[in-house]
């Protein structure tokens, strides 16, 4: 019991050191939990939401002359599971509403909003389906242009005709890349608006889903042949990756980068634990010898220091694990907003808890193990004896000889220079930690600056002002 009081007091008396290690481990555990939980939730949620919108296996773009009968014909083709035609218009939208600033806008016209087959566009709020002269904005685009229901937007066709449409609400089209990433704005109208604008009502985009996912390419060629068979060109065939949202790679990239930072942070925590524990054990070498001298067995003393690290890890986990749930929730919400899907609910699982506890407890224990085992393996007589033959430090050898050449150094300067080299192992460890942390920091800052510089050079090359 008494030895546990020692553990407690050692931790309490050196509060700043204790807090430093706890925070250091906690950062690693937090980061790993945050990444693990958000990755699980984001991937699962994006996949399920993407599947729920019934993505097509192929998108074929042609001139706006396909009609309902043609689409029905494709639907009835052997091997085709579902097909739907839509009309899209590439327009410009004035962000200021006065025609001074223009951005790209794709306006989709659906024949029947209540009979969508593929790439389902879900109603969010407002008048649904839109009526003549009304537009539903994709929800990410709505935020991007800062419009509200009831606002009028000014749009311009390629031949310069301008129209005002009334925003009546929002829809969610998961397949469309949000304007914060791509800069493209999406709106949804019905066919009567097209007529009002004097545009053709035929579909120019065909979505097709096949019965056999392995035959996508062959079947798409057949569908393209059908289109070309009626004398229309096929401008583009897009084959989305089955079951994978087009922006899945962004989540993967983001999580891989954050995962690397988490692993680096855990690595640095481990290095810090080694450093602090080795400093602690060096400081307590005499106490270890005393404990041995008064009957403490090696495992009892080793147990004290392992318990110390275990307690630090446990406190770190107690702080980091609940925070990582909130963090994962926030990160997942942020990522979902960027990709434009509904934020997933973070599920706190036993697996996640065990993994975080494993990392938070085992990594520091494993990191500190060699230091503890070596440090507690002291011979009491060597440490306690004051006659001290073995206590004399032999000098740094080469360093001493080098320093002796600099006559300008005072004794205290020489002492200060020699001191760090007394414990070379600890010196190397400190240097590795500092170098690594510095390298990570500099790499991130350099990367940011390099990217900025590269972009500036690129813009300089293109030389445009607007």
């Amino acid at each position: 019991m008494t030895r546990w009081i020692k553990v407690y007091r050692d931790l309490w008396i050196n509060r700043s050191r204790t807090v430093l290690i706890i925070l250091s481990i906690a950062v690693g555990v937090f980061a790993i939990g945050l990444i693990g939980m958000s990755q699980l939730a984001l991937v699962e949620s994006l996949n399920s939401q993407y599947a729920a919108m019934r993505p097509a296996d192929a998108i074929l773009q042609t001139v706006s002359m396909l009609d309902k009968d043609f689409v029905e014909g494709i639907r009835n083709m052997r091997g085709v599971d579902e097909a739907e035609g839509r009309r899209y218009l590439l327009l410009r939208i004035s962000l200021d509403g006065k025609g001074e600033t223009w951005r790209d806008l794709t306006l989709y016209a659906l024949h029947d909003y209540n009979d969508q087959r593929l790439f389902l566009v879900r109603q969010q709020d407002g008048i649904y389906p839109p009526e003549k002269g009304q537009v539903l904005m994709e929800r990410a685009s709505m935020v991007y242009i800062g419009a509200k229901p009831g606002d009028q937007i000014l749009i311009k066709t390629p031949d310069g005709r301008q129209f005002h449409l009334t925003v009546t609400g929002r829809v969610h089209d998961l397949y469309r890349i949000p304007p914060v990433i791509e800069g493209w704005i999406y709106g949804y109208v019905d066919m009567s608006t097209l007529r009002w604008m004097g545009e053709a009502e035929g579909y120019n985009e065909l979505y097709v889903r096949y019965e056999d996912p392995t035959q996508v390419r062959a079947m798409t060629n057949k569908v393209a042949d059908r289109i070309e068979g009626i004398g229309l060109p096929v401008y583009r065939k897009t084959l989305p990756k089955p079951g994978e949202h087009p922006l899945n790679f962004i989540i993967d990239t983001m999580l891989i980068l954050l995962g690397l930072v988490a692993a680096l942070s855990m690595f640095l925590s481990a290095m810090l634990v080694i450093n602090v524990i080795s400093a602690l054990i060096a400081q307590q070498e005499k106490q270890i010898a005393i404990m041995k001298a008064i009957g403490g067995r090696s495992w009892q003393i080793v147990g004290l220091y392992f318990s110390m690290v275990f307690i630090l890890g446990l406190i770190a986990c107690m702080i980091a694990i609940p925070l990582s749930v909130f963090g994962a929730d926030a990160l997942a919400a942020f990522a979902a907003e960027q990709i434009n899907f509904d934020p997933p609910k973070i599920q706190f699982t036993w697996q996640a808890l065990i993994f975080q506890l494993g990392v938070g407890l085992l990594v520091p224990l494993i990191a500190a193990a060699p230091t503890i085992l070596n440090g507690t393996n002291v011979a009491p007589a060597r440490v306690l004896s004051e006659y001290g033959i073995s206590q004399v430090w032999g000098g740094a050898g080469i360093l001493d000889r080098l320093l002796s050449r600099f006559f300008a150094f005072t004794r205290d300067t020489l002492l200060a220079l020699r001191n760090p080299f007394r414990k070379r192992g600890r010196l190397i460890l400190s240097l590795i930690t500092l170098t690594f942390a510095g390298a990570v920091f500099m790499a991130i800052v350099n990367l940011r600056d390099s990217l900025g510089h590269a972009l500036n050079e690129m813009f300089e090359f293109w030389r445009y002002d607007a």
């Binding site: 008494t2 007091r9 008396i13 106490q287 404990m291 008064i294 067995r297 004896s385 004051e386 073995s390």
Partner: protein, 244 residues
């Protein structure tokens, strides 16, 4: 108190200890033969560097001989492993150091309880009472809840002595226990040793102070790693047994 016919409690035969130094091999003990019987109060006297601390470290098992045999309480000390040594030391021999060596984050009472905790004796419920009793015996009970930093040198050494006898070992070995104390406090510490000797403990005390050394039942004079003189408390010379 001394049983002449029984086997000695401490028995050293041809004990040598060599240290490797940058200057070469240094022989700290050059073949010591020593027999100490139960209940003896022995002072080990010698100049600095004579080998007295090395000798006490051999007896307490804190260091290992390069050559020779050490039997303490019937146990061949040099053959014990680290853990066995710790267990053996906890039950057989209490150690007192010149610089007290109390654990700074534990109170006086907790310092005394620590060996009991390590050795698992006495029973958990009795430890606190025993520690208080020992501090009372050392006339320092009122300081029980103070950290070592709040105690004077003499008080710390009393706590250290109480800690050394916490598990009731038959032998108490003290390495210059008064070397860091003023003469009055040193005399008080020796009085405590006398009291413990009267209670049947075998006591080995390393000292430089000839006045204090006169208060013991036996004096061993060490010089250059050899016992050069072995006298009784009454000043009569004993047979000195060295192997060089």
């Amino acid at each position: 108190m001394t049983s002449l016919n029984a086997s000695p409690l401490i028995d050293l035969n041809g004990v040598k200890k060599a240290y490797k130094t940058d200057a070469g091999l240094f022989l700290a003990l050059k073949g010591i033969d020593l027999h100490v019987n139960e209940g003896e109060y022995v002072a080990i006297i010698g100049k600095s560097g004579s080998g007295k601390t090395t000798l006490i470290n051999m007896i307490t098992g804190l260091d290992r001989p390069t050559e020779g045999e050490i039997v303490v309480g019937g146990e061949k000390v040099e053959r014990l492993g680290e853990n066995q040594l710790a267990i053996w030391r906890g039950h057989t021999i209490g150690v007192v150091f010149q610089f007290f060596q109390l654990l700074p984050t534990l109170t006086a009472l907790e310092n005394v309880m620590l060996p009991m905790d390590f050795c698992g004796t006495p029973a958990f419920t009795e430890r606190r009472d025993r520690a208080r009793e020992l501090l009372r015996l050392m006339e320092i009970e009122e300081q029980a809840n103070k950290l070592p930093a709040k105690l004077s040198g003499g008080q710390q050494q009393r706590v250290a002595i109480a800690r050394a006898i916490a598990t009731d070992p038959p032998i108490l070995a003290a390495d210059e226990p008064t070397g860091n104390l003023d003469s009055k406090t040193a005399a008080a510490v020796f009085s405590l040793f006398e009291r413990l000797a009267s209670l049947g403990k075998t006591i080995l005390v390393v000292t430089n102070d000839p006045d204090l050394a006169r208060r013991v039942s036996r004096q061993l004079h060490i010089a250059d790693g050899l016992i050069v003189n072995d006298v009784n408390g009454n000043g009569r010379k004993r047979v000195t047994r060295n192997k060089s």
